[in-house]
Subunit: 335 residues, 2 copies
């Protein structure tokens, strides 16, 4: 296992210096949002805001804005509210997963219990959607709201279909487009819109975010199988135990013989932790990962074309670089 | 215990015939909203929509609209989205309370577990806030979003201060204004705004809803202590077990002798179910309920004055009637 098959740091994933001033504005604005809550609630919100996130969504909004003529307060605001929505979903995900730590620190549910965390996620979510009204554009509000609804629905379908061995690859792609693609796509598409780009350009940049988010989720799903816990900094090999059928596993099931498939199905339904040697023994495991990596790499190649509406320059280069870096991480997942 | 100290039915609380056609439009629209969700999620949303609610908030929006020149599709829409926000909070409340039944049917968490129910509440919530963008008024969107955030924050403070014997009456009033008053006030205030009434009128109608919602919550809190489970149709005497200090209990603590207070505090902290004879024996229990009833009645009297901006007519009469009916229910709580 290459030690560098890690959860990427912000500085690795995107050219940090280029976005640093605006990302600092994002952090300042997030701290300001914390103060918008009732004083009784501020400490909870502050904790979540301080302990979560690589700020990928804000960085994407800022890079598109930078490429399309320069960032404004609106790009920062878009980044902030998408990050708040993302944080709200993380708070609820951690309840659902019973996770005690995230990025090495205690989760909200570990600190204050599930009840408070359900409500804390709700308040973050609600505040983020209210913040969207600051744009004075009903269309932006609507698109932010729809993206948030997509995320929630994607998570429901994923939860509903745990341990469902009839899940198809089409179902999987639909779920990850909803749960991860939607917010990435909102970051890049709405950022183009805020920069005054036309509807076609907005669609292309939306498509860039959707494909990048999808590839990112495939990477995350591969990492759960092949990553090193010490390097990634979170518990791995948990997706299958939770009944989450990800692309490598769907590939594996597809390529397995009938006997192998039955054996694998049985282990999945029994919620048995799958150790790698067992998995390797079952079927064409390496091929299953390879194929997932190839799928994600093809998406990354496609999404680079979607940057065509943006003029050349360091910000556009950075949006290409993100796909290359993610591609590099994906390559390291090959076995 | 008078058998009629019940959770009021819609037909009791407001003149049903007057709002029936518009409430039917609300139901039709709620069913349409269900279809806006992904087909995989529709059944869950449909279940929650079909099993919950007296539609008080939509009825209030409709009555104000009816009084202020006649209802339009916008009043119906306002009612629908406030009801969806209310439903989302109920789904999450039931998780927090570990409730298995609500209004005699299984809760979402009882049917599908907590994980799916957390996400289902999120999706309802998000969809409701997105629906607010249909008004094409950023101000309406913003006010709906703020009301929703208030509700979430009120619930957090309530949860955070369970078993907190330093809770003051001011804290209690703040919490119930946020968790219950905010949506009632949004229903009446925003309905006036949708009818084209001026800002002063909107403020008065907002105040009507806030006081009515607050009085309604005080009634609900009294009912938990004095109601009959068979009549009310839900488990009672649970607030104190959960550490929720409501107005009658705060009155009781205030009027108790030091020795009585210590005894009561001890029982609350021990999470011992409080049976009525014990409670009666502890201190001036009857006076504590009486005083809470008086407080709520005073609010109802005040809020009738807030109807002044509305012209005379059956809809305005109905808004008065609601306060009288709720006042009658409160009177029955006296011991």
């Amino acid at each position: 296992m290459p030690a560098s098959t890690a959860n990427p740091t912000p500085g690795e994933l995107f050219p940090f210096e280029l976005v640093r001033p605006d990302l600092e504005r994002v952090e300042i604005s997030i701290r300001e949002q914390v103060r918008a809550f009732d004083p009784a609630i501020e400490p909870y919100v502050a904790y979540v805001c301080n302990t979560s996130g690589k700020r990928i969504r804000p960085a994407l909004a800022i890079l598109v804005g930078g490429a399309a003529g320069g960032t404004t307060g609106d790009h920062v605001k878009l980044g902030v509210l998408l990050e708040l929505i993302h944080m709200a979903t993380l708070v609820h995900d951690d309840i659902i997963d019973g996770a005690n730590t995230r990025r090495m620190v205690a989760t909200a549910n570990a600190k204050w219990g599930n009840s408070l965390s359900v409500l804390l996620g709700d308040a973050l979510f609600s505040h983020a959607l209210t913040l969207a009204t600051d744009f004075d554009s009903i269309e932006i509000c609507r698109k932010v709201g729809r993206a948030a609804t997509e995320v929630c629905q994607g998570e429901i379908i994923q939860t509903q279909r745990r341990f469902d061995l009839t899940l198809t690859k089409a179902d999987y792609f639909k779920v990850i487009a909803m749960k991860t693609g939607a917010l990435f796509a909102a970051a890049t598409g709405l950022s183009a819109k805020l920069s005054g780009m036309d509807a076609d350009a907005e669609d292309r940049l939306h498509a860039y975010g959707m494909k990048l988010g999808t590839a990112y989720q495939i990477y995350d799903d591969c990492l759960d199988l092949v990553g090193s816990e010490e390097v990634v900094g979170k518990t791995l090999r948990t997706d299958l135990v939770k009944g989450k059928l990800t692309l490598p596993i769907l590939n594996l099931l597809e390529s397995a013989s009938e006997a192998q498939r039955l054996k694998l199905n049985k282990r999945i339904l029994a919620q048995e932790p799958l150790d790698l040697p067992v998995l390797l023994g079952i079927a064409e495991y390496a091929g299953a990962i390879e194929s997932a990596v190839d799928t994600a790499l093809a998406m990354l190649a496609e999404c680079r074309d979607d940057l065509a509406p943006l003029p050349d320059g360091p910000h556009r280069d950075a949006l290409v670089q993100i796909t290359r870096f993610l591609g590099g991480l994906l390559e390291k997942c090959r076995r």
